[in-house]
Amino acid sequence: MNREAILKKFEPNLSNILYIMHDLQDNNPEKYLAKEDIEACADYLNVPYSYVHSVASFYTMFSLKPRGRNIIRICESPPCHLMGADSLIDYLKGSLKVDIGGTTKDGMFTLELTSCLGVCGVAPAMMLNEEMFGNLTPEKVDSILDKRRKEI
């Protein structure tokens, strides 16, 4: 979908800014809000370019730099910490050879941290794109990511 078509889905009210940015980001193949996205949003809502950037940079679900094709968001909140999230995060950093916020060399995965996902009953948990996974172990994470690699 082109940017114009996305914008047209919403009334040009400032209160729609988060919705618009969610959609623009999803639509961007590099899963981020590019300068052109910010500019299009600013023009459509008739607000300054710097304003849109400022709002986008506040919320963790938006990225202002290119990301991989899949976003891993692993929870580091106290409940997941209690159930061993730390070692899982270390494992992921090692196996993907990236730091938090980094993207794998093949552009397949970006590793991010997230606050509580609200699925603490199955801690430790993570989101892969829109999908949630719980009761994670290194083996389980490997198989989830392998499956995703094969799907593409």
């Binding site: 300054p48 370019y49 710097s50 304003y51 950037h53 400022s54 940079s57 506040f58």
Partner: protein, 585 residues
């Protein structure tokens, strides 16, 4: 009225008064950091916290209205300890290289640290060093000094509606910067410098040209000329501890001469010239009825703002250059010719209350003389530093006149420095140009003062001219939205002539003024300019003998072909993303 006690001192205050102001009334100055008298309190720093009997916790004095019967304490041991902790926290994320900081001795954080008594430093400096933004020709931004008080955002966004700077990211990573950190030079920044004069610390300052000017002054091959803007003569004294608004025209000339400038000339001279050019333009427009209202073009911050946000009004803009640039074009042509100096050896320096003038002089089209017309722009602060370095104290200087042939000025020129001044000066001369008679009472009071938008109806021998004056880009935006609206709906605007100055108060409130300024100080400086106007023998631009000589010997007449080549300019459309010139479509 509300009755309360501050540290047991009884006070009465109107409802809605903040505890901060109520305490001041009782004689107590509560320390603050993020608060600024001209801006809305944001509550960022928490330094002004006080105790109110019966209310748990501490309250911010800046944003808590004093309530009936409040018993406020402003400096209990608990409060003082808390303040020290907060200052220590601020210092944990602030470059404390005070001795080499541009704000040394003028820094509000430095003063605060001394007031609350910081003598130990518990917390290690945390966070990475961030790159300093030097992309702008006018303003440098050092995020390592920024304390995120938000004043710059408030002026950039609310007062000026420029929105170059914004708060980005969040938490400890919060940084005030341009979108995608592109830098002020690659943004919609209009270089007005209001962020600079509102910054309590050394995070924002002008890009200095003092080194280059020192070099030129000591280069025997160069002939260095200097011009001083109208507002500088009521600001420079403050750099030397004189009362706000002290008028120091003569002392300023003397100090500049002693600093080594080869010719001390006057922007005021070209202010008078501007009136001749712009006044003639106004008469032409009024006669033809085309492109009304005419809008003034002296303020370079306003020009970039217009090019970015109101470029559809370009046909309405006066094509007259600003006084600074008219001076620049004449110094390397007319002046060089008359004085027999090789224009290639002239270094043209201007002393301005303004940071945007640094941008203006570097605009590529500003080379009518065949050279860059104005080489270096120094703010009032920079020339103050240079004078102090040379051991010169303006207070102690004798009064000296400027040099000829670009030095004479009238009272009409000097009031350019205050909002409404250009309008008033233009009317004084337009009256003569239209009617052939002199305006009896030259003081046009309705366009003076600090009200946001001022309007007046001028009777020029039966022709009624409706004028409006806006200062600050936010007020200009309001006024011009109305103009656009009227033109769209009725085909014409109710106004025939509009003056816009980018900064609140006009040039006396410019981004190059002394540190620690506020609206009250701007008002006082403006009054001093009107005083000088009253004290001068000539008060109408068309009476300036040197201007008349210039036309006679060199330019022929206002708006002549030669005048157009040297004294007029054109404008561009600019992008609302990066402020760059958009290719003509």
């Amino acid at each position: 009225m509300i009755k309360a006690t501050i540290n047991n001192v009884e006070i009465e205050a109107p409802e809605g008064t903040s505890i901060l102001w109520a305490a001041k009334k009782a004689g107590f100055t509560i320390p603050t950091l993020c608060n600024h008298p001209d801006l809305k309190p944001g509550g960022q720093c928490g330094i002004c916290v006080v105790e109110i009997e019966g209310i748990p916790g501490l309250k911010r004095a800046c944003m808590t209205p004093v309530g009936e019967g409040f018993k406020v304490k402003t400096h209990t041991p608990r409060i003082m300890a808390t303040r020290r902790q907060l200052v220590e926290l601020i210092l944990s994320n602030h470059d404390t290289d005070c001795l080499t900081c541009v704000k040394n001795n003028n820094c509000e954080l430095q003063q605060l640290a001394s007031i609350v008594g910081i003598n130990v430093h518990d917390y290690s400096r945390s966070g990475e060093r961030l790159p300093i933004d030097r992309s702008s020709v006018s303003i440098v931004r050092d995020p390592n000094k920024c304390i995120l008080c938000g004043r710059c955002i408030q002026v950039c966004s609310n007062v000026q509606t420029v929105d170059a700077l914004a708060v980005n990211h969040r938490g400890f990573d919060t940084v005030i910067t341009t979108a995608f950190d592109a830098g002020l030079g690659n943004s919609v920044c209009i270089n007005c410098g209001q962020c600079v004069v509102h910054c309590p610390v050394g995070a924002l300052y002008e890009k200095s040209a003092t080194e280059e000017v020192w070099e030129a002054l000591h280069d025997p091959d160069k002939f260095v000329v200097v011009q001083e803007a109208p507002a500088v003569r009521v600001m420079l004294g403050e750099e030397f501890g004189m009362p706000t608004g002290s008028l120091v025209s003569g002392k300023m000339h003397a100090a500049l001469r002693r600093l080594g400038f080869d010719a001390v000339l006057e922007t005021n001279f070209t202010a008078d010239l501007t009136i001749m050019e712009e006044g003639t333009e106004l008469i032409d427009r009024l006669t033809s009825g085309r492109n009304l209202p005419l809008i003034t073009s002296c303020s370079p911050g306003w020009i970039k703002f217009m090019e970015t946000y109101f470029h559809d009004l370009i046909p309405h803009m006066s094509t007259a250059k600003s006084p600074q640039q008219m001076f620049g074009a004449l110094a390397k042509t007319y002046y060089a010719e008359v004085k027999g100096i090789d224009p290639g050896k002239i270094v043209s320096v201007s002393i301005m209350p303004c940071t945007a003038k640094k941008f203006e002089c570097q605009r590529p089209e500003m080379n009518a003389s065949g050279y860059q017309d104005v080489d270096y722009v120094l703010t009032t602060r920079e020339i103050g530093r240079m004078m102090r370095e040379a051991g010169l104290d303006v207070k102690e200087m004798p009064d000296e006149p400027p040099d000829d042939i670009l030095g004479d000025y009238t009272g009409a020129a000097t009031i350019f420095g205050a909002t409404g001044g250009v309008m008033e000066a233009a009317v004084r001369s337009a009256y003569r140009l239209v009617t052939g008679k002199e305006l009896e009472n030259v003081e046009i009071k309705p366009v003076r003062g600090l009200q946001g938008i001022k309007e007046a109806e001028i009777d020029i021998d039966g022709t009624r001219v409706k004028v409006a004056v806006a200062h600050s880009c936010g007020q200009a935006r309001k006024l011009l939205n109305k103009v656009q609206d009227q033109i769209a709906k009725e085909g014409k605007s109710e106004y025939q002539f509009i003056e816009v100055m980018a900064c609140p108060g006009g040039c006396v409130g410019g981004g190059g003024q002394s540190w620690g300024s506020n609206m009250a100080k701007r008002a006082r400086r403006g009054e001093s300019l009107y005083e000088e106007d009253r004290s001068l023998p000539l008060r109408r631009s068309h009476e300036n003998p040197s201007v008349l000589a210039l036309y006679e010997k060199f330019l022929e007449k206002p708006n002549s072909e030669k005048a157009h080549k040297l004294l007029h300019t054109h404008y561009y459309k600019r992008s609302t993303v990066d402020g760059k010139i958009k290719p003509a479509s």
